[in-house]
Structure formats: structure tokens, C-alpha cells
Amino acid sequence: MDLDSLERQVTLLEDIQEIENLQRIYGYYFDSHQYDKVVDLFSENAVSAEIESHGVFNGKEGIRRFYWDDIGKKSQTMPPWMIRLLIIQIGGVVSVAPDGKTAKARWQTWLPEVMPSAAGPRQVWLHGYYENEYVKENGRWFFKKIYWNCTFYTTYETGWMRFPMLGYFPFPDSDAPPTAFHPYPSGYKVPYHFPHPVTGEP
């Protein structure tokens, strides 16, 4: 093997490490309500963000609107004191494209949270999958597209089978309605970006 090939392999390992970290750091910033830092993880050419049933937000402008205006309420001050977010990023499978400039990754998340509802703050369990896209610009990896598909959003007292979805939460300023909001028990399966590791089939 020559130096060039070795360097390509090393770069790929580094890319995977950096993308995994990017996703985990997203989680830590989100949980601590640092929404300006979240927005800064996205490329200027970001495509969209779609989370839960909130709808699709297009471009960097839409992403800023979603995280900073809608969720962060345009400030870094604390949300209502009972509200607590914990999105645990688990099990990332990262696939870097052969040209080393874009990548995709699938993650799972477990969320033990306290969220507002019409009846006041509720303790809730959520589960969901990400199928995200990333882009390498000037040697750094950024988010290009975030897509979080909700499996269930249940209350602590009841559980996913008895109470799969606490409600429907479209944001009024989204650019498009949710593209694939089919929570449990629909049986919907979020498509994989990766091919089968052994057979190579989709």
C-alpha cells in the first residue's frame, strides 16, 4: 500500500469520528438550551430540519427560525423552570460518500423529558430515529439536513402501548407540513440510508 491510500483511509476514520462527535455535541447543546450554538453547527447551505410533527424548515434561514425563534424563543434564557430536555444520542452508523465530501448517519434517541402540555408540565418518554446528512466544507463537517422521526411520545404514567402520542404539534411557521409523521403503532419504518453490510442490497 502507498502513502496516498493510507492517508485516504486515515481521513475516512477521522471523518467518521468528527461526524459522530458533531451529532453528540448537537445533543449536548440542545439539552442545555444553547440554540445559537446548535444553529452554528449547520452549513450555510443547509437543506432542512424536520423534527417530530413540527413540519419542515428549509435552508439556514428556516433552521434559525426553528431552533432560535420557535424553540429558543429568541433568547438564551432558561425555558419555564420545569421543562427539561434530554435527548440521548445512541448507536450512530455513519456512511461517508466515496468523494469524502458528504455523509449520512442513522441514530436512535431515548428521551426522558419534562415537556409542556395543555395540562401543565408532564414527564414523558420519547423515542425516535434520526436519518441525517452532513457536508464537509473547508475541512470541517457541518449538518446539512436533520430528520428526526418520532416513534412514540408517551407519558411516564401510561407507556407507549396505552398512550403512544401526546398530541400533534405542527409549528405554524414551518415551510411545509411533516413529510413522514407515522408514529407507533403505525408500523412505519424509517428507511435506512445504508446498504446491507454483507449483501450490499438496500
Binding site: M1, D2, L3, L6, Q9, V10, L12, L13, I16, I90, G91, G92, V93, V94, R106, Q108, W110, W125, H127, T151, G159, W160, M161, R162, Y184, P185, S186, G187, Y188, K189, Y192, F194, H196, P197, V198, T199
Partner: protein, 225 residues
């Protein structure tokens, strides 16, 4: 350091990444009941697969029997129908297996490997005729082989810690019941769920002392106080 040594090190790092990804993909396919895709992750030279109290199944044929035939005891000839039916099954039954905290140890020849993971599961499925929602926990100790440049499973062993109802919890109800499957090759080899105090041996040596685990079955009788 020479190019060859560096190359060997890079290969080792790539192998670890690939095995970690393999395990996560197993989880993702399992969650969506893509039974054929799960099967295709196993080597033709698979040693065995053992999950929960289903019993131990030997060889690639055993893997097929365990994942595909399942409860009900359908014959091999109906395999295609079972696969089709399972993959179309309604969402009422569901499972989420998260593959956590993987520690992969590559063998010295670079052709075999072992890995330990935890799994935390939220499930709902019928048990004794009614649907219930469950929390499960367990540890994996799995083995892998590199065949024609691709890593595959050669052994999968998921050891149950608890299998409890959402409404009750592991202390109150550690095991909802037994889940034997038809025609295993052997009974479960180490089904000692909580509160037995069983320690599922590690595949990795101690990172500092290098000490290798000597399995000791620390059994605590459930009626001890």
C-alpha cells in the same frame, strides 16, 4: 515507524469501526423485523446464537430456525410466508433495541473479534394472549470473523438481566415469564436473570492491569435475606 506497521494499525481501527457499525445495523434491522437482513449478517460458519430463554441454536441453520421460525413451530417450508408475514406485521407489536456501550477486542491475527454491548429495550408484544408493554435489559457477548474482507457474526449471545412490565418494574417483577422457542439444539446455557447476582463474563481484558476475567458465578439465592 514503517508504512506496514501504520497500515496494520489503520486496519485495526477500521475493523473496530466496522464491527461497531455491524452491531448497530443488527439492532436497526431487528427493530424493523427485516429478518432476512438479520440472517445475512451471520457467517455460514456461525457457531451459535442464544437469546433470552429461547434456548441455544447451533450453526447458520440454527440462526435461521431461531429468528425465522419462532413461536408457533411452523415448518421450514413455510419460511417465505413467515418472513413475508413478519415483515408486514402491524405496528401493535414492536420493539426498540438500543445497542449501547460497545467494547470491541480484535484478535491478534486480525481475523476474529469479540464484543460486549448492553441492550435496553422497550417492547410491546402479546404474551399469554394479551398485549403488554415491557422494559428489558441484557448484555451481549458476541463473536465475529472477517471473511473475504467483510466482518460477520459468528456467535451471538444475549444474556437477560430483566424482562419486566412497564407498569411494575424490575424489582417488583424481574421476569414476566419464560420465552422458550421450539426445537433449540440445547436448553439455555446461562439464563440467570436478576436477582440471581450472575455476572456475565467479559470478553475484554482489564485496560490497565491486563487481567483476563476468570468467570465466577456469584449466585445469590432469591430467598436469601
Amino acid at each position: 515507524m514503517t508504512l506496514e506497521l501504520l497500515e496494520a494499525e489503520v486496519t485495526r481501527l477500521e475493523d473496530m469501526q466496522e464491527i461497531e457499525d455491524l452491531e448497530k445495523k443488527y439492532g436497526y434491522y431487528f427493530d424493523t423485523r427485516r429478518v432476512k437482513d438479520v440472517l445475512d449478517l451471520f457467517s455460514e460458519n456461525t457457531e451459535s446464537v442464544e437469546i433470552e430463554s429461547h434456548g441455544q441454536y447451533l450453526g447458520k441453520d440454527g440462526v435461521r430456525r431461531m429468528y425465522m421460525v419462532g413461536v408457533g413451530g411452523e415448518a421450514e417450508t413455510a419460511l417465505k410466508d413467515i418472513v413475508a408475514r413478519r415483515e408486514k406485521s402491524s405496528g401493535a407489536g414492536f420493539n426498540v433495541i438500543t445497542q449501547l456501550q460497545g467494547v470491541v477486542t480484535i484478535g491478534s491475527n486480525g481475523k476474529t473479534a469479540k464484543g460486549r454491548w448492553q441492550a435496553w429495550l422497550a417492547e410491546s408484544f402479546p404474551f399469554a394472549g394479551t398485549f403488554g408493554q415491557y422494559w428489558l435489559h441484557g448484555y451481549y457477548e458476541n463473536e465475529f470473523a472477517k471473511e473475504n474482507g467483510t466482518w460477520l457474526f459468528t456467535k451471538l449471545f444475549w444474556n437477560t438481566t430483566f424482562f419486566t412490565r412497564y407498569e411494575t418494574g424490575w424489582l417488583v417483577q424481574p421476569i414476566v415469564g419464560f420465552l422458550p422457542m421450539p426445537n433449540p439444539d440445547n436448553p439455555p446455557t446461562a439464563f440467570h436473570p436478576y436477582p440471581s447476582g450472575y455476572h456475565f463474563p467479559y470478553s475484554f481484558p482489564h485496560p490497565v492491569t491486563g487481567e483476563v476475567e476468570v468467570p465466577v458465578f456469584r449466585y445469590v439465592h432469591p430467598m436469601a435475606t
